[in-house]
Point group: C2
DNA sequence: TTGAAAGCGCTAACAT
DNA sequence: ATGTTAGCGCTTTCAA
């Protein structure tokens, strides 16, 4: 751990040249400014010797750009989001950008705070997977020149979005069962006010209605006893096909089914919206709909680059296709 | 989206006061400098009206501090690390710091690059969960005035570290089985060169030796057929107690056990180092050793704050205790 | 009670 | 081929 940082001026001084000469050389513009090979080498060597690292703030202040993007997510410990941030970070890194990741815990107040903070830190752009209270974000976002791309959940009809068509994808699920459902059980998490979940509920419902299949809704949580009771009730009601609207809910459902000793897929079938690493290890392995996280990440970054170019290209809503992972539970 | 940012000067100009007056007021030093209530109110209102956000770079340039910390991890999509970053981010946020998270994919070259990049961005400090090639980091880290705290994996004997005693914790595992093992199967991931895994292997081995229990090692991977074969082999060899050295390996092992229709815990017992959300949903639920992620995160931040104070307090290696989650597989 | 001005480290237009 | 200098937006010392 060294005690002080070397500045451009230090190099200039120790070599008796001017700061600009040093700046030119260190920015690879030596040729362009016809700086002699000798001087260049001298400067480069000195810089290495003194372990010169440019001051990011001076540069930022001067250039007005930070090469930094802010990513606002509901929960970084959710595998979907952590995969997504990984994908985004990698794409961004290739383009020379760094990434601030912040986790809001699906709390709109926190979200607003964190977005303010990111703006304060002069990120060049924002990627947001919003909680529900989007209207609250509008005024803040409207007052900053920072472009925004929405991901996973649509925040603003008129801005770029990359994600999945939750409505349609869940509607399709109803047709995927190996046996035509007599009655569908729609399993959702406690917090069904999150936009994506709402869309999935609506999508599943409408598909059932279109196919004249009766359905029933239930919310499942960590409370095992409650989940078992609810599942039993539904099966008694004649439900033979379950659509779990996210992977956590699927986990709870399968656990309940195991406890109830209901055979899958013989007696009852289940499909999960969102895959999970563990699903292939279950007995039987769980069939799931998998979102193209990496694709979403890549496309998000593409959209962002477009905005950063201040291109006038129209904003787009990009709906990526999910893939159906056929295992044995459907 | 507004087109231009308001600066201090804009406010000063529109109010016909000087920049310093505005600066004083906006930094809450109005009283201290005896600025009249009227002027203060005028300035505050104008700032709000023009939606003033201070320029982070100018401030940083001036003050030399960024209030930003860099976190370097092997893999953000690994639940352990994503939980950890969440905990760290939260503690840090309370103290007014923001966090850059970067994922190295356990690749030392990438790691070095990303650390360089973080230094370039003038983070105030670094938190690193290093890959193995620590010697490579030394020179870079030695040449910067930025303090480092190591987390999860020890990078430097003489610097702060927060994590878990992998050696001792895995040694204890051997005594945890409900039946004294006749022979222990030590299950590790393909890449056993990662420091934590190596320590866990050594710890388990030594415990077996001390208790005069024979043991056998095997590496498990995604390759299901191979895993099944290896597990079968070990059971034929008399192994009745498995220690899985991380949660992925445990997943593979249990899958193999299911396929082999070996009853757990009747015929064979298994414990996983590292817990997983899914473990409680298995039949039977999987017993695991759980690392105190939140505690590790909090303590890491505490260490960091100490360093940032430039306190001369001695560097510490903080070993946090794991908790044994008794479910039914041991 | 307020204003002027220096200076943080860097870039680039302009001089020489 | 290289040096001088203004200015990015802010804080803070000193002067008025």
């Amino acid at each position: 751990m060294k005690s002080k940082r070397t500045s451009l001026a230090d190099i200039a001084e120790s070599l008796n040249v001017s700061k600009s000469t040093v700046s030119f050389v260190l920015n690879g513009k030596g040729k362009q400014f016809n700086i002699s090979e000798t001087t260049q080498k001298l400067i480069l060597d000195k810089a290495k010797e003194l372990n010169y690292v440019p001051n990011y703030f001076a540069k930022g202040l001067r250039e007005g750009k930070t090469q930094t993007i802010g990513l606002v997510l509901a929960d970084i410990s959710n595998p979907f989001y952590s995969e997504l941030s990984k994908a985004i970070q990698e794409s961004l890194y290739e383009k020379g950008y760094s990434l601030f990741i912040v986790s809001t815990n699906d709390d709109s107040t926190m979200e607003l705070k964190l977005i303010r903070d990111l703006i304060l830190r002069s990120v060049d752009a924002l990627i947001i997977a919003p909680c529900n209270g989007i209207p609250a974000l509008k005024p803040v976002l409207d007052e900053t020149p920072i472009p925004v791309v929405w991901v996973d959940r649509i925040g603003d009809e008129f801005a770029d979005f990359v994600g999945v068509d939750n409505y349609m994808e869940s509607a399709m699920l109803v047709k995927r069962f190996s046996v035509k459902p007599k009655k569908v059980g729609i399993l959702h998490p406690k917090r069904s006010d999150v936009m994506t979940i709402q869309l999935r509920i609506d999508g599943t419902k409408s598909a059932c209605e279109k196919q004249a299949i009766p359905y029933e809704l239930a919310s499942l949580s960590e409370n095992q006893k409650e989940s078992v009771d609810k599942m039993k009730q539904m099966i008694d009601d004649g439900v033979d096909s379950f659509v779990a609207l996210n992977n956590k809910v699927a986990l709870h459902a399968i656990n309940a089914l195991n406890i109830l000793k209901v055979e899958i897929p013989k007696k009852v079938r289940i499909i999960s919206f969102d895959d999970s690493e563990a699903f292939s290890y279950f007995a039987p392995p769980v069939t799931a709909l998998s979102q193209p996280v990496n694709g979403i990440g890549k496309e998000t970054v593409e959209r962002l680059m477009e905005r950063l170019k201040e291109s006038t290209e129209n904003r787009k809503h990009l709906m990526m296709e999910c893939s159906f992972i056929e295992r044995s539970s459907h």
